[in-house]
């Protein structure tokens, strides 16, 4: 993949929590409008990778580039303002804000205002459009975030990230704990986002869903990538699936 056309480039990052050495030299690239999936069992460092890119746990060494510009060590709010949206593991909805307040927060002046404009990245999202995309939120617009169901919170977390019009969306296990019907809705949303030219860095435990929508896949094991390639290549690689994604993995793929 040519350097110039990459939206996100991660080059040999090493990330620690205190003395605990978690990411042990990861590199990846992601182009505009692409969905790249990160797979791996619990505790392998998937969330740490997301946190590294978002600036929440900056890597101790290595580079992270957004459209070729380094964002390594930048403040998380600055990274957000440059077009990176976060849909975190566990949703992390603001429980004492209403649905409307949750959605409007990233678009507020104190958050640097909304990005966008005709020739800057994907077409714009606004409150109306987000509510059209997530009808279940429209009915609960004045409810507190803490009063929503898990599925509604997940939709809110995605909608909240969209309100900044990010070029790149970091999604950490968006299907975790959702019913099959809602998992399907999440998958549909990602397809829609891809069509609208948003790139997605997707962490998933639901391997079947991830392989169905991803353009490219990395498998993470104890802080290192042990596989990368298109989904079809992973499906054919029983060894990686069994060793690094577990039995449930190969069952889901089959």
């Amino acid at each position: 993949m040519a350097q110039a056309e990459a939206l996100l480039t991660v080059r040999d990052i090493h990330t620690y929590y205190g003395d605990s050495y978690v990411l042990q030299g990861l590199s990846l690239a992601l182009r505009e409008g692409q969905i790249v999936a990160i797979l791996g069992r619990n505790g392998m460092g998937k969330t740490t990778l997301i946190r590294s890119v978002a600036g929440l746990t900056p890597p101790r060494s290595g580079d992270i580039l957004l459209r070729g510009e380094p964002i390594t060590g930048a403040r998380s709010y600055d990274i957000a303002r440059r077009g990176v949206g976060l849909v975190p593991q566990g949703r992390r909805i603001f429980t004492s804000l209403t649905v409307r307040e949750n959605l409007l927060l990233p678009a507020s002046v104190l958050a640097g205002g909304r990005r966008g404009g005709p020739d800057e990245g994907p077409p714009e999202w606004d409150l109306d459009e987000v509510l059209d995309q997530f009808p279940q939120l429209k009915a609960r617009i004045n409810n507190l975030g803490g009063a929503l169901s898990g599925g509604e919170q997940q939709m809110l977390a995605i909608g909240r990230a969209l309100m900044r019009n990010p070029d790149l969306i970091l999604m950490d296990e968006p299907s975790e704990g959702l019913s099959p019907r809602l998992v399907e809705q999440v998958g549909d949303i990602m397809t829609t986002l891809k069509k609208r030219n948003h790139a997605i860095l997707l962490v998933e435990q639901n391997i079947g869903m991830a392989l169905a929508i991803a353009d490219y896949v990395y498998v993470l094991s104890v802080g290192k990538f042990v596989f990368e390639g298109p989904p079809s290549e992973l499906t054919a690689n029983a060894e990686v699936i069994d060793r690094h994604l577990g039995v449930t993995g190969s069952e889901q793929v089959a």
Binding site: Y77, L86, F94, L97, L105, L110
Partner: protein, 285 residues
């Protein structure tokens, strides 16, 4: 009759306590910073206001000057002392105690050790006649209205505006707010400034009936601490309700059990904490 007067006494203290505890509790909610210099901000705000009233003979100017002086002072404390300590909250506690002592010593050198009363304007002096033949100092009655107005304004800002929603989001999950583009340090500086302004204003309006003297910064800080612990650390509603509770208990305690006035405040607090460790409105952090 005395009961009603003591109730009004309690409410006027509550008004003062709210001005002090609102900033304290939001500062904690947002950044987990326990600013033990908050009482000293009250003290120095009061003294600066006093000097301005002495020189200009304008009480209102004194209030504004006390408030803004403390905003500037607090901004310096935040930028050069609290901020470099990062997330080391124990260091912040010790540091702000030191800051409080330094501020109080400087105040002692400038204004001396006597009880000084901030002079009130003519229109706020004298008695007010309330229904039921109750005669009450006009100033303290107006203070209740002032505190009520401050509480309403703060509540509306916090619950009904976008900037309030952002502060609430920061209290809920600071890291997530930052990941959505909120400059959390700027937000904290803003909240710290508002809290400091209210503390400085409290020093001037409080100095007009409690007087200003060395040591008042700790007496008032302890009451404010009880307010935020009872109400729930980090909660504005908690600061409002806690102020009323502590103000009333303090007034009734001084009236009915004058020799035990601290016990009367701390005993109910201890019982409440046993039943509800987070305080009335507090959430787990």
């Amino acid at each position: 009759m005395s009961f009603i007067i003591q109730t009004i006494n309690g409410l006027s203290l509550a008004a003062l306590l709210f001005l002090l505890s609102a900033g304290f509790t939001l500062t904690f909610g947002l950044m987990r910073v326990v600013n033990l210099a908050h009482g000293a901000l009250y003290l120095i705000g009061g003294y600066v206001g006093l000097s301005v009233v002495w020189t200009t003979d304008n009480f209102w100017l004194g209030i504004v000057a006390g408030g803004f002086f403390v905003v500037v002072l607090a901004a310096l404390i935040d930028r050069f002392l609290i901020r470099p300590t990062g997330e080391n909250h124990l260091a912040q506690v010790l540091l702000t105690v030191g800051v409080a002592i330094v501020i109080a010593d400087i105040a002692l050198a400038i204004w001396g050790g006597d009880n000084l009363r901030v002079p009130t304007p003519e229109m706020l002096r004298g008695p007010i006649f309330l229904p039921g033949d109750i005669i009450y100092p006009r100033y303290r009655f107006v203070l209740i209205l002032f505190g009520l107005a401050a509480a309403v304004i703060m509540w509306v800002l916090y619950r009904r505006t976008q900037i309030g929603a952002i502060v609430r989001a920061g209290v809920d999950d600071r890291e997530m707010a930052s990941a959505l583009g909120i400059n959390i340090n700027l937000l904290f500086a803003l909240v710290f400034a508002v809290g400091a302004f209210l503390a400085g204003v409290a020093g001037v309006v409080g100095g007009a009936f409690l007087t200003l003297y060395p040591g008042v910064e700790w007496e008032i800080l302890i009451l404010a601490l009880v307010v935020v612990i009872v109400g729930g650390l980090g909660s504005l509603e908690g600061a409002i309700v806690g102020s009323v509770i502590v103000g009333l208990i303090d007034a009734y305690g001084r009236w009915l059990m004058p020799e035990m006035s601290y016990f009367v405040i701390f005993a109910p607090m201890a019982v409440l904490l046993l039943v509800r460790p987070t305080g009335i409105f507090g959430q787990e952090h």
